[in-house]
Each structure stands twice: as structure tokens, then as C-alpha cells.
Assembly symmetry: C2
Homo-oligomer: 272 residues x 2
């Protein structure tokens, strides 16, 4: 039984050490997608295996997660190996297995960060304030969606009412954990996957689609994430190309006071 | 001695099988960077280990390469493991070692592609024709640069003459192998790393900088790459954020007839 004291995100990403580099975990029904769990919670679980590892040095700057096959609703083993530790960077390989079969692979790069010249070149998206928007409450949404307070400023999925002239794949939305939870790398890794496959916005028709590989770059340190508290973050996602069964998409995730927290990229399978 | 018949790219990425999943290779002085080899040739080598593996199924859709430490100018071993083969996708982990130490890790996703709905949402960059530009010939360029015919339409590195008002990190350039070589996944994987760290364009000052992790999504199949022959490709790169020692950058690589071949992302270390 899940611990009622724990936030659902912490329960879903809970890992019990079983050896030096291995942990046992368990899928959580509250983060179920249509087949297997929400990709975001899997990304968060892979990163958490690094974050709680006693050998960890530094904070994440890059995370790539490859969804090798659907995860069954049963226990899994996560192995996290520090394959290389340098003075200021550390490289990790993370593997999730069920019954000995690889279901997810990941790599993470951590770094000891320090102040340097700084500039944000991408623009903070234009969006109405979170207070002016209603939380999305779709009866068709997958189960995991109930763990997020999402308010869409632009680019609803499956919106057949949109003028053809506006057909792009952009979605701009506010998002936070529901119930609210202070932001950290684990929750941000999951939030980076809340943007539905862009094919559902661009066309918009319902076709089978799912993330195959996800890469996130973290531009903030833990102090900046903590500064966000439980506030809604602003995210904006767009595809660049659809074809031959796959499309990419890129998103930026910002704090409400315009700090770019992460840029995230993925390649998505779609059926037709 | 390198085989004079072989293109330098093929010689530099040559792999000799030593066991079922392992190969031996050797750095090539022609692709030397300031410390270790050009990151593009390493990415190409990691992908080649998958491309020549007898178990390969499908063509690359995603490649992530993590540069764990500088590669020494000596032989290396590449291990390529198909960690999961599905009906239409295949997941690979690739590791490069020298003297038993991990120097580079990579993951690749391959897919059997088929025709679907298609659309390119990102815009083909505005650029003067390749014939109107001179090849870059910089005495300060690293050795590997001589293997590319690069013609910069916008965004020279270290250009202190630029008006401050134009300070962004965009570079738009034409590029092909030099001497010309028919395009394939291996050469495209390398070309995706020809865009110098954006910090050198944005500020522009010379600071130590280097790619830490690189992810490329391939939007074309081998037939579309072959269609490009030895033509110059058009690439455009830009950063979204610089700070705390790292910046990201994203680039698109296009065929001259406006087919988007790849989108590529990286996180780059910079010193100050």
C-alpha cells in the first residue's frame, strides 16, 4: 500500500536499495498511461536512482531516457552505474529491468556548477496568467494526468475547432504537481514529459503515439528549483518535423519569474 | 598507415570486429581537435558500431553520445549491445573504452520506417546560395576542420565586428565532407557536430568550451540521405541558454532541396 504521507510522485519513484548500484521499485497505478506508466514518471525514476546514489557528485545537466518496451505493472529493478567521475562532471548509465529484460535505459550527466557569464536567448512565451485559466479536466485524459494541474494557454490537443490557418503544433501551458509539491530535479524530469505528442495538436486526430527517446537539459541548480516552490511552471512545446512514423518535439520549461529551468527534446512514434 | 583509397571519414571510423559485440578502432590524426578527436567523428564511430553490427534492424532515429573524458591518440575498443529488439524498433547501448576505462558512452534507437502523414514545421533558413560564399579557411581552426567544406552565411565565431544589436548565437552555414563523400548516417552524425560552441558566436570571446552530451534525431531514411549525394547541406544552430558553466544548442540540418535531415541538440561546457 502507498504511504499516505508521501506525495504520489515520491511514492511512484520510491526506490529500495538492494545492492551497491541496484534498487527495487514498483509501478504506481496513479501514474498509469494507456499502456504502462507515464513516460515522465519513468524518467523521474531513472534520475532518482542517480540522485539517491551515495557516489553522486554534482547535479544533473543532461538526462536521456530510452523507452525500450512497455513497463508491466509489477516490480522493477533499476541499476545505476557511475561509469566515469571527473573533477567536475560525472557520467551515469541507468538500466531498468523486469524479469531480467531491459525495459528502459538512460544516461545522465551531472556537474558541479559554478557562476559564469549568463544569458537566456530564447524568449519567455507569451501566455495569459495562470490565474486567468481553468485547470484542464478531460474525462479522456490518461490516469497520470490527475497528478498535474495543467492550464493550457495555447494549443489544445485534438481541437478540431481551430482555424486551419493556425495549424502549428505549439502548446503553451502552466503546470505543477497536484497536490502541490516543491520542485526538484526528480519532479522537473517528469514535468518535462507532460507535453502530449505534438501530432495530437498539429493534425489533430487521435492516433496511437508515444515517446521513444527523451533528452532533457537542466539549466538551473537545485537552489533555483527550490526557489520555484510549488508555483506553476510555464512550458511551451513544438515539433519541427513529422514523417515516416516519427516526429520530434522540443519544449522549454520556465519558472513563473522567467528563469529557464530546462529544455527538453523527444522523438515520438506515431502510427499513421 | 591509413588506406589512401579510403575517404578520411571512413578511415577514421574504421572498426575491426574482435568479438560478437566488440570492435577495435584507432583515432585518426586528421580528425584531431584541441584535446582528443573532434566530437563529431566520435559520434560517427559510435553509430558506425551499430550500423555494421550483424544484428542491426532498421535505421537510426535517435543517437545520444556522452563524452565522458578526452580520448587519447591510441587504439580504442567499442562495444555495441542490442539491449532490446522489438518488432519495429531496436535499442542499443554503445561504450568506447581505452585501457579498460570508459571514455564515451552512447545510446541509439533504430526503427523500421514506413510512410505516414508528413509535415515540416520548422522553416528552411534564409541563406545566400553556397556558390555565393567562400569556404572558411581559418588558420586558427582545429585540424578536423580541414575535412569539411564550410561556408558561413551568418554568425561567424569570434566576430568582434558584429554590431551589439545583432548579438544572438545563430550560425547558418553550408557544409559537406571535403573531399566530397556521399552522405550516409555515419557522415551525417559527424556533420551534426560541426557547429562550434555557441558561446564563441554569442559573446564572442575565446573561452575553453566543449560538447558534453549530444543528441541527434534523424528525420530521413538512407534513401533520402543517398539522394543528397555529395551536395552541401544547410545547417542552422542556436543556443537557448548560457549559465553556470554550460549552454545548450540546437541545430537543424537540411538537404539543399529543403528536406529536413536531422535535428541535433547538445549541452556544452564553457569555462567562464
Amino acid at each position: 500500500m502507498p504511504d499516505a504521507q508521501l506525495h504520489a510522485l515520491d511514492a511512484a519513484t520510491a526506490l529500495t536499495p538492494t545492492a551497491r548500484d541496484t534498487y527495487q521499485g514498483q509501478t504506481d497505478a496513479r501514474y498509469a498511461h494507456r499502456v504502462g506508466p507515464f513516460g515522465g514518471i519513468t524518467a523521474a525514476t531513472m534520475l532518482k536512482a542517480v540522485m539517491v546514489h551515495p557516489d553522486r557528485q554534482g547535479e544533473p545537466i543532461a538526462l536521456t531516457v530510452n523507452y525500450a518496451q512497455p513497463i508491466a505493472d509489477e516490480p522493477f529493478v533499476v541499476e545505476a552505474l557511475a561509469v566515469r567521475t571527473n573533477r567536475s562532471t560525472q557520467h551515469w548509465n541507468v538500466t531498468m529491468r523486469q524479469g531480467g529484460t531491459v525495459v528502459t535505459t538512460a544516461s545522465a550527466v551531472l556537474a558541479v556548477r559554478r557562476d559564469t557569464w549568463t544569458s537566456t536567448e530564447v524568449q519567455f512565451p507569451a501566455a495569459v496568467p495562470v490565474s486567468a485559466l481553468q485547470r484542464v479536466a478531460s474525462p479522456e485524459a490518461p490516469v497520470w494526468f490527475a497528478n498535474y494541474d495543467v492550464r493550457i494557454a495555447q494549443g489544445l490537443p485534438l481541437d478540431t475547432s481551430r482555424p486551419v490557418a493556425e495549424q502549428d503544433s505549439i502548446t503553451t501551458l502552466w503546470v505543477r504537481d497536484e497536490p502541490p509539491r516543491p520542485l526538484d530535479f526528480v519532479s522537473l524530469a517528469s514535468i518535462c514529459d507532460v507535453f502530449v505528442p505534438r501530432i495530437m495538436v498539429r493534425r489533430p486526430v487521435r492516433v496511437p503515439a508515444g515517446t521513444v527517446s527523451l533528452t532533457t537539459y537542466f539549466h538551473a541548480d537545485s537552489a533555483k528549483l527550490a526557489d520555484c516552490g510549488t508555483a506553476h511552471l510555464l512550458g511551451s512545446a513544438q515539433a519541427s518535423h513529422f514523417g515516416m512514423g516519427y516526429h520530434d518535439q522540443t519544449a522549454q520549461v520556465w519558472s513563473p519569474d522567467r528563469v529557464l529551468l530546462a529544455t527538453t527534446h523527444q522523438i515520438v512514434y506515431f502510427k499513421e
